[in-house]
Subunit: 330 residues, 2 copies
Amino acid sequence: MNLEEVARRAKVSTATVSRVLNQVGQVKGTTRTRVMKAVEELKYRPNLHARNLAGGKSRSIGVIVSNIENPFFLDIYHEIEANARGQGYEVIMANTDYSSEQLVTSIRLMIGRRVAGLAAIVSEMHPELIEELHHYQIPVVFYDVGTIRKNISNIRVNYRRGMGKLTDYLYSLGHRQLGFVGHHGLLGPITERANAVMEVMSRYSDVAVHTAADVDSFAGGRRATQELLSSHPEVTAIICVNDCMAIGAMREIRDLGLRIPEDVSVTGFDNVNLAQFCYPGLTSVHIPRHQVAEMICDSLIPDGKTQMKQEIFIDPELVVRESSGLARKR
Amino acid sequence: MNLEEVARRAKVSTATVSRVLNQVGQVKGTTRTRVMKAVEELKYRPNLHARNLAGGKSRSIGVIVSNIENPFFLDIYHEIEANARGQGYEVIMANTDYSSEQLVTSIRLMIGRRVAGLAAIVSEMHPELIEELHHYQIPVVFYDVGTIRKNISNIRVNYRRGMGKLTDYLYSLGHRQLGFVGHHGLLGPITERANAVMEVMSRYSDVAVHTAADVDSFAGGRRATQELLSSHPEVTAIICVNDCMAIGAMREIRDLGLRIPEDVSVTGFDNVNLAQFCYPGLTSVHIPRHQVAEMICDSLIPDGKTQMKQEIFIDPELVVRESSGLARKR
DNA sequence: TTGAAAGCGGTACCAG
DNA sequence: CTGGTACCGCTTTCAA
């Protein structure tokens, strides 16, 4: 069932069928209906590979995330999908599970598909991969990875500010023994977020920060917290690198028989949808996902208007909920 | 940058380059390395559209889910992805957001891509779409939708048994005034799960069930619960159609100043990963996701072995956690 | 072991 | 308004 069969049945040429299907050029009404009828009867569905090959362009954008189980990535993906669909583009998602090899595979896959643009919401990016994308003239937007080059836009969250707001807030509540729960975002645990916390905390001379890290998941957050609290029971507040880890942290704290926030305060980052539904509600830092998705789509989908803003900074807002409170007395 | 350029640079024909890249046929060692070198230098990445078109087959399977924000769908998707990758297939995901039109669009997209197989984890499926899939000889696996035909496998959860275990358990705890929180799974709120509950509950003459429904999300679960409890404050246990709605229900109950499970018990369904991390831990019914994904991949990916089991039933297990307890006294 | 060439299923330009 | 046809980039016989 291909164009030719449809053409034969409608007694026209393949060119005409193509015109009808793509709604381009002028086609007589009666011919059009004849073609439509044949399409209908044959249940003809164009082969998208052939279409892409012949057409050259791709009307689909790729989104690569490092961990789709983390609600934040999902939220972002979802927003991008909605936005892109509105502009007639479809979204192809790939998940790397924080694996370098998977990242390479996924990027090659996107290049192989000749996507119109690529959003990389991942925690690392080898220069050679960037080179490769650039070589294929694929517009790219990075979130959280720090590389600026031609054809590449960047969306950066001002972690310093975000973490700053968070730590100032905790400090004002009397917390002096802090814990930081991070995750192995590949290539060593030193992520931008962790750096930001450390940097911010160094402002206070009477504060101590103890850290622990595990994989980016509920279970990982739980394990890291267990490790942290067993070696540093004096900690009164735990700052988690993201909401996902924080959920796991809260579970562990309760299992230890401690109360939140009376005994230990917990904070997240990203302010995912779930943060307001868990119990207690999670104090977090809001990243405007809708806006992020919009920026991504704007710089990836050519529409004559705004395009390729080189770099965008996001200044995240603190959202206080019930998971944080006054530091407990010694 | 196409095959021809690589061929020219390596001073061979495109056929030879193709052989090297696909590791088929016999190629002399020196020729092979020459080709590889050219590929490397040119950063050549084959156009997958052309490859699929020429090759005919597709090595990718499609997964359509109705709501990717529901952790259950995500878990399933993730499992399928892992399994498929292991067999050299890639997974293409599409999300319908419970929209009929999106479902049609997504299926057409999958057909257009000529996927090797399709898994539909959705709540509805028009006969004409099934016809269409069948017409294109695409193997299909349905989860939760009840249609049996050639080329179509079915994975069905025995809701009657699952809900039966749940209700028997609640009954034994003294609950007589029950609430059921469902969601509009399109085409009217009468889903298979809801039917199962009603049917099971009708066994007890001294039990009353009140229902409410909203969209499938945390927020939806919350709204439905609000509606339910305001009109039926006598309810002592709320059975939610899935864990996602249950999380929302728990949030609403606490906001009303009620305790879980002392004042109201809550149960979910699916036993998603999150169920053990929320607070209190959610009593649920476990669906073996790993097994489901395995079945899906087995019947979609041809490997000579098992194939196209027509229908599979899953008998889900009750998982009791802290969100359920004895019914409160009047 | 290698090359030439015929498709795969469309699109789009050029005539008519 | 419609048809013929040259590609798009790759795979796969068939010969050499």
